[in-house]
Structure formats: C-alpha cells, structure tokens
Amino acid sequence: MVEKYRSQYGSGLDPLTYLGQNYLAVDRSLIPDILRLLRDEEQFDYCVDITAVHYPKREKQFDVVWILYSFPRNERVRVKTQIADGASLPSSVSIWPTANWLEREVYDMFGITFDGHPDLKRILLPDGWKGHPLRKDYGILQQDKEWVQINLGIESGQ
C-alpha cells in the first residue's frame, strides 16, 4: 500500500513498524491529503484518536499523531507528523467529524492550532486559562493563579 503512495509523494512518507504496529511518518505538507486518502482509498473510516507529543529540545517541537482504524480491514495505522511550535495544521473535522473534540483537546493541552476547525477553543480547561499543561515546560504544580483567584475566589487551587 505504501509503495503506491511513495511513488506519488516521494520521500515525504516513511512507513515504520514497532512491536507489530504500523505507523507512517509523514511530512507536514502532505497532511490533509494523506489522511483523506487513507479514509477514501484505504478504508480507514474510524479516527480513533488524535494526540500530540512534545519534544522541547527538537527544532520541530511537536509530534502530532492520528490513530486510525479500518472496520473493513480490521487494521490499525498511526500517522505521525512533526511541526514547529506556533505552526498550525489543517483540521481533519471534514474527514472525520469525531476530530472536532479531539483537536480541541490537542489545542487545549498543547496550543497547536488547527486551521479550518469550526470552533477551536479550550475543552477541558476554562476558556480564560493561560498556558497549555501537557507541554513539557509546564510544571506539574503550575497553574494559572490569576484565573483561580478571580474565578474561584481562593488563593490557590492546590
């Protein structure tokens, strides 16, 4: 399957396997196309999860991961891409509606924006919160003190 697309997309696509699980390391520029292709041509009709991993020491700080499943093939695949801090990705809500909340959570936790998302705002944290907790530079005891004091009327949430 990958060979077919490799000729089409060149070196931007790297198929890998670890512990029997397949994943594709994909260049950022291929992102909406390859996801749409996986759904339309390869029957990956179920988007299980979208998440991200933060590597602060790398030049492109974030790995964004799509975990996909195909009902007809009973197969999973992960798509991974690297993006820099402050860069954005095209939204996949038009491909899988389930991406709506999942992308909102990635935005909430990492501050990665998705272009074309119908309503990109925080989902688990309050709207006015500052900072993105799952970044590695956000300490485990850190919190938005100002928000806590104004909205909860207490000194500290700890």
């Binding site: 975990i67 389930t98 909340w101 907790p133 909205n151």
Partner: protein, 393 residues
C-alpha cells in the same frame, strides 16, 4: 464570590453557542420562541458534573453544547511525573464504575511495550474480574438510567445485586470500587480460598435477576414510550463520530474489540456479540442486557477452566520499557478504551495518552437529541452511559 461566578458563567454560555450552526445572537436578546436553558453541572440526570446548554424552541431541542472539564485532574500530566507502577492506581479513577477494565487496559499496554505477557492463570483471573466488572457497570447504568426516566424500582434491584460483585472484589483485593486489582505483568493477589465458589454462586444467583430486570422494563409500556425511537443514531454516523461500545452495536455494527482484535485470552471463550437494529435508546438497553448475559457466559467458562500456575510474569522490579511507543485498546463497558504510551527508556512514561470512550461518545449527544423533546435529553445522556471521571480525566 457567587456573583462573580454567575457572571463568568453567563459569559461562557453566550460564547459557547457560537458553534451551534445556528444564528449567532448578535443582539443580546433572542427570538421570542427560542429559549436557552442551562442544564447542570449540578443536575442529577447528568450523572456527574456535565453541563449542557440547550437551545430550545418550545419543547423542541434546536441544538446543544456540552461544557466539560469540571472534573479535570490532569491524569495524563500526572502520568508523566510518576513511574509506570505508581501510575497504575490512577487509571482506576477515570472510569470509576469500571476500574478493573481500566487497569486491564493500562497493564496490557505497558506489558506490550515491554514485550512480556501475563501467565495463563493471571489471564483467567483478569477475564473473570473484568467481566464481573462489566456486569457491575451495566447494572449501575441500568439503575440510574431507569431512574432518570422515572422507573425507581430497577435502581434498588440493580444496586442490591451489584453488591454481590463488589463483595467478590473486596474479598479479592480489599477494595470495592477503585480496585487496583492487576499489576504490570500479572496479578498481585492469588485468589482467596472460596473465590471460585463465590463466583459460581454469583452466576446462579444473578441469572434469574436479569430476567427480573427485564420483566420490569422490557415490555413496560412507559419504558417503551420513553425509549423507542428516542436518540436514534445510524451505524454510519456512529463510525464517523467515533462512537464505540454498546451504542455502536445497538446501531447494527457488529464490532467488539474482544472479537475483532482479541486481547487477554478472550479468543479462548465462546460468546456472542449482541447487536440492535434501530439504534435507539430501547435497542441500546436490549444490547446491554444481552451483554450482561454474555459476560456471565464468559465468566462461567473462565471460572471452570482456570489453570494452575504462577500469577506474575517475569517482570523486573523496576519497570523500564525500551524506547518506543505503543497503542493498545480494550473493549471497556463503555467502548474502546485506548492507551497510547511513548517511552523514552526511563522509569516514567514520556507521554501517556488515554483514549476515553465516554469523551468521544459524548460528542454524539448533539446529533442524537437534535429535534427531540427536552425530556428526551435526559434519556439520551443516560443511554450513552458516560462517566464524567473519564470524560474529563
């Protein structure tokens, strides 16, 4: 303090409505027929702290917006700051109605990452406890869901019978709800003397009880009126929205991870996947009732075939999985529960992502209640079977 809180709540509700695909209220007043009401976060029918903003036209629902996060504890962040072993009890606190399933999913994911396997006896104990927990979770769902709709008796019946399962858990590992029953590599505890007898007694005790529940509800006229053709969702919509578990199966998609991609040792057991046809609230009820019966079948086979042997695999004292990443998912009572773990070779996960079934399933609420009556919202929230501890993590 309370004034300030109210102000901010109002701000959020107007802001939140902007994505309802309806006209954004540019002026501060609404069409005279339209009404925005706020349901929750403190509302008995939301099963926790879920806030739903409803846009109504009379009694008809035009759109909803869920506001979640009230129970957010940052489980994924905590995982990055704990060792693999230390994080194990935390997963019980996500879906606290099905703590055993969460533990199974997490332990298996780490085992897969370390490339070890639990010994057969541990696998059997795991299956027995997980399936008992599935029954307990469905009992809790049935009792509260029926209570929401107005039937009070099932609540007492289900809680009475759920007690028997919790007693088995308590005797096995000392805890009733957040059990922490499994360890990475197997089980911590050997079964107590009389465990098998207790489980078998439970099976004979419980078989007529399901019939009792069904006698109360299945042909009950009020129950039928309140659940049939309420919250209908098609199989294709379920897949597009990522909805899994009994909701997906009630819409006619025969998919269960225990069969599709067997984990633990589910491939050894003989059981059916119950499915529905209409995808309405009544079908989801029937599917869950059948699932309880199927779980009993699995428990029966497992308790009769439980082998002798060790209960812990060869796992080092300090758990240090090699550099790499893994996604492993199990069929929790509510749907696909996945763990995506990235290891950097140290004793702590570099990143641990939980794919919660409740969170993703809750997204379908809007589609399921649009055009329905406001009283049906309560029925649909109940039928999706969410646990806010898992939605918010």
């Amino acid at each position: 303090m309370s004034d300030r809180k109210n102000d901010s709540t109002n701000d959020v509700s107007i802001h939140s409505l902007s994505n309802l695909n309806l006209e954004t209220p540019e002026k501060p007043y609404l069409d005279s027929n339209e009404l925005i009401i706020n349901m929750g976060p403190q509302h008995p029918a939301t099963h926790g702290v879920l806030r739903v903003i409803l846009k109504l036209d009379g009694e008809k629902v035009l759109g909803t917006e869920c506001v979640i996060g009230y129970l957010h504890r940052g489980v994924e962040k905590i995982a990055e700051n704990r060792t693999y072993t230390m994080f194990n009890p935390y997963v019980d606190r996500m879906d606290y109605c099905a703590a055993v399933s969460n533990g199974l999913g997490y332990c298996e994911a780490v085992e897969k990452l370390m490339n070890v396997e639990a010994p057969p006896r541990a696998q059997y104990i795991r299956v027995i406890l997980t399936e008992l927990n599935r029954i307990a979770s469905h009992q809790l769902w049935l009792g509260t869901h029926a209570l929401d709709i107005g039937a009070m008796t099932p609540l007492f019946y289900t809680f009475r019978d759920r007690e028997e399962i919790l007693k088995i858990f308590e005797r096995y590992c000392g805890a009733r709800l957040t059990t922490h029953a499994f360890r990475i590599g197997g089980c911590q505890y050997e079964t107590y003397a009389g465990f098998e007898k207790d489980v078998k007694n439970f099976l004979t005790f419980f078989a007529p009880k399901i019939d009792e529940y069904e006698a109360l509800l299945t042909t009950n006229r009020i129950w039928l009126e309140r659940t049939r053709n309420v919250g209908v969702i098609s199989g294709a919509d379920c897949i597009a929205l990522g909805v899994t578990g009994p909701v997906l199966r009630a819409s006619g998609v025969k998919w269960d991870l225990r069969k599709a991609q067997p984990y633990a040792n589910y491939s050894k057991f003989d059981f059916e996947i119950p499915i529905g046809t209409n995808g309405d609230t009544y079908d989801r009820y029937l599917v869950r009732m059948q699932e309880m019966r199927q779980s009993m079948r699995i428990v029966e086979q497992a308790v009769n075939g439980i082998p002798e042997g060790p209960i812990m695999g060869k796992v080092p004292k300090v758990i240090k999985p090699p550099v790499g990443e893994i996604y492993h998912s199990i069929e929790a009572p509510k749907g696909e529960l996945g763990f995506f773990i990235v290891s950097d070779g140290s004793t702590q996960p570099y990143r641990l992502r939980v794919r919660p079934p409740s969170f993703v399933n809750l997204q379908a609420l809007d589609l399921m209640v649009r055009g329905a009556l406001v009283a049906d919202v309560v029925a649909v929230i109940g039928t999706i079977d969410i646990v806010l501890g898992e939605v918010d993590r």
